[in-house]
Symmetry: C2
Subunit: 192 residues, 2 copies
């Protein structure tokens, strides 16, 4: 991606990774920061989208892909109208993520939220891993269904090695680097 001034341009921050890797946690901190700094921000969270766009879809490969393509369709509409879009979605398959990347174009910023499945399973915020390991939930990404990591994400966050706030800072720094955000000068620094 070329850098340069894109302050009025939209973008899509696409957080991909296992359930429990910290996608939504980091995305919420980023959202808060973005709302202070740009006018138009929209969050397309996997759960919100399942309710509003994809009710009735299951977790087969085909249904997962359809869900991801729908999120991509909406993200593209918003991005090309200057909105800063935040997507949190497991989106386990590389091919369909790359399809969305092609559709959204230049503004697509893929963020691989990378944590070992053991760490995600230990956190088990929603109690889903327990059910996945017991077989109560079939086709669970990282347990009984594959997750294909991005080959060349714009950013990788190792959420088992850093705090969510630090991960969020890296996302903001990446937006500044790419020219979507004006770097903020730090005022009030102590000069020793």
């Amino acid at each position: 991606m070329e850098n340069g001034n894109k302050l009025d341009r939209g973008f899509t921050l696409w957080f991909t990774g296992l359930s429990g890797a910290g996608k939504t946690t980091v995305a919420e901190i980023v959202e808060h920061e973005l709302r202070e700094r740009i006018g138009s921000v929209e969050v397309l969270d996997g759960d919100i989208v399942r309710t509003n766009l994809s009710k009735g879809l299951g977790f087969s490969r085909e249904d997962r892909d359809t869900n991801v393509l729908r999120i991509g369709f909406v993200a593209n509409l918003l991005t090309r109208n200057g909105v800063g879009v935040i997507v949190s979605a497991i989106s386990p398959f590389k091919e369909v993520r790359d399809q969305v990347r092609r559709e959204v174009g230049d503004g697509f910023i893929e963020i691989f939220v990378d944590a070992p499945v053991e760490v995600c399973a230990e956190r088990d915020v929603k109690g889903l891993y327990k059910k996945a390991y017991s077989g109560e939930i079939p086709q669970f990404t990282g347990v009984s269904d594959p997750y294909e990591p991005p080959a060349a994400p714009e950013l990788t966050l190792r959420t088992n090695e850093e705090e969510p706030a630090d991960s969020a800072k890296k996302v903001i720094a990446k937006l500044e680097e790419f020219g979507y955000l004006q770097p903020v000068k730090e005022y009030g620094r102590q000069v020793s």
Copy 2:
């Protein structure tokens, strides 16, 4: 709806009416005019949406309502980010249209594209009425499935009594009246 200056505000022009009533024809003329006059325009046509958001849905009342709610969800996201959205969708049921109206809020402009079913059937642009009357297509709005007209649309277009260009002018005039568009002065008028 209150009038006033809303030049930077988004809106949703929601064209509702029978198949063949002229929704898309009028919407395309409006789209062309809007692209000359405002920065952000998106068209959510029933067919595009069926492909991208609602593949697999049928034509039962429940599926139709789900389809309309999905269009409404996306229209709302765009409208609140300053986009001028054009929706063409039969959207036969009043209750779900009113639900979308509540979600989109102030920017929702319902346009009833009103033509008698006999006129629509005679035009039969897509050859669908023939199949509906023969029973080949079941649950066809206006033939074997109900259409509930809006009780209080912002605008009604009688497309069997006027040309599409005249209908489109009424839509533009309504946007000017509501304050979403700056009225255009007519230059170069002959003064006699």
